[in-house]
């Protein structure tokens, strides 16, 4: 049942990435057409635009959700590739632990960075 659960979350994470990566592409690369979340005439990567987005709670949440989805999607894919090399059962267990701990560690660090950026932006 674990494989069914992991695969389902892999698919769902892919959908989340599709939505948020689509949002990223729209904001960063289609700004001339849409101009979402870019105040005035500023470009998407200008300081004022970046700080403006960091002040919005929606973006803090979206960064964390995208981070979690991308980490899970990517690390599960990496796990599948490594498992196809035919490692022994013990090595599989060790890989599971390493990838889980590494993924959680990266997520905590990334979520902390996104949260801190939001706090700093609001204090400016």
């Amino acid at each position: 049942m674990r494989d069914q659960r992991l695969w389902t979350w892999h698919v769902l994470a892919g959908l989340v990435i599709l939505v948020f990566l689509g949002l990223h592409m729209t904001i960063m690369h289609l700004d001339i057409i849409f101009g979402f979340f870019n105040p005035g005439d500023a470009k998407p990567i200008d300081w004022v635009s970046v700080v403006g987005r960091a002040r919005m709670g929606f973006f803090t949440v979206s960064y964390v959700v995208l981070l979690g989805a991308a980490l899970f999607h990517g690390l599960y894919g990496l796990r599948n590739i490594l498992f196809e090399l035919g490692p022994a059962r013990g090595v599989k267990s060790a890989l599971n632990v390493v990838l889980t701990v590494g993924g959680v560690g990266l997520f905590v660090f990334g979520a902390w960075a996104a949260w801190t950026a939001g706090v700093l932006a609001r204090s400016l």
Binding site: D3, Q4, L6, T8, V11, N80, F83
Partner: protein
């Protein structure tokens, strides 16, 4: 291609008793009109190499015994004309992704073990009705369409030999067992999805399929195992999200009693068993 005068068979030979590694042997024989690869092997066995071993039976692409790796592709030897290969050099080896028993005979037991583990048969609650039927399980033409193409599988192993995942992952059940499991999962007469799920939801399930599609390309009967595997993934994802509802197995309808045999159709002979 114009028919060649002679055909050279490059055959992978292996005899476990000799304790020698597999080796290639070239044999040239005269081409005869309509010769298949299986015909050529028979000529070689009768005239050149009596010890050559392979597995075959029906000679008409029905039994699935003569799956071989012919000119780099898994095919049925009986269904492969020499002329369609486009060359007078025919390379014949046992199916990849299986152990070799001898010469061109692969050990298909792992495939059939995986097949049996996925319970490729109707599973219903009314066991009594299954063994002593009082009627027929009702099925519409549309319901039949859901699994019909998958039931054309002859278990030749060509899809298993073509599958890149099978080449690396011994835990993977493979395209044939998974497609046959799906064939019963979507059969309206079956209620065994929950039982099969105990195996399908594990690492033996469809998750390792990369959708290379080689299995469907190789199938000599036109079955599409890759499609079955993707549909099975969707079914299992929906099941995890509790969005899949196992349809109620079709009801038993009484045998028709008003039917009369046409006068020009003779009566069936008495059962012999």
């Amino acid at each position: 291609m114009t028919a060649p005068v002679n055909v050279t068979f490059r055959i992978r030979r292996y005899d476990p008793a000799s304790q020698q590694p597999p080796a290639w042997e070239d044999v040239t024989i005269p081409y005869t009109h309509g010769m298949t690869v299986l015909d050529g092997l028979r000529v070689i066995k009768e005239t050149r190499s009596a010890t050559l071993a392979w597995r075959s039976s029906c000679r008409m692409g029905v039994c699935g015994s003569c799956g071989m790796f012919i000119n780099g592709h898994p095919r049925l030897a009986c269904n492969t004309q020499i002329t369609e290969l486009g060359t007078s050099l025919v390379t014949v080896a046992p199916l990849p992704n299986f152990d070799i028993i001898r010469d061109l005979v692969p050990d298909l037991r792992p495939m059939f073990d995986a097949h049996a583990a996925l319970m490729p048969h109707l599973i219903r609650d009314d066991v009594q009705e299954m063994y002593e039927p009082t009627g027929e399980y009702f099925q519409t033409p549309h319901e039949l369409e859901q699994f019909l193409q998958f039931s054309y599988c002859i278990k030749c192993g060509c899809c298993m030999a073509a599958c890149p995942t099978m080449a690396t992952d011994p835990a993977y059940s493979g395209p044939m067992p998974l497609a046959q499991s799906h064939r019963y999962n979507v059969d309206s007469r079956d209620g065994g999805f929950g039982t099969r799920k105990q195996v399908l939801a594990t690492e033996k399930g469809p998750w390792k399929c990369h959708y290379a599609g080689e299995c469907s390309q190789a199938c000599p009967k036109g079955v599409d195992p890759a499609r079955a595997i993707q549909l099975m993934k969707r079914q299992l994802v929906f099941d995890y999200l509790r969005l899949y509802k196992q349809p109620c197995p079709s009801k038993v309808v009484p045998k028709p009693t008003e039917m009369k045999r046409r006068a020009d159709v003779p009566e069936a002979p008495a059962p012999t068993l």
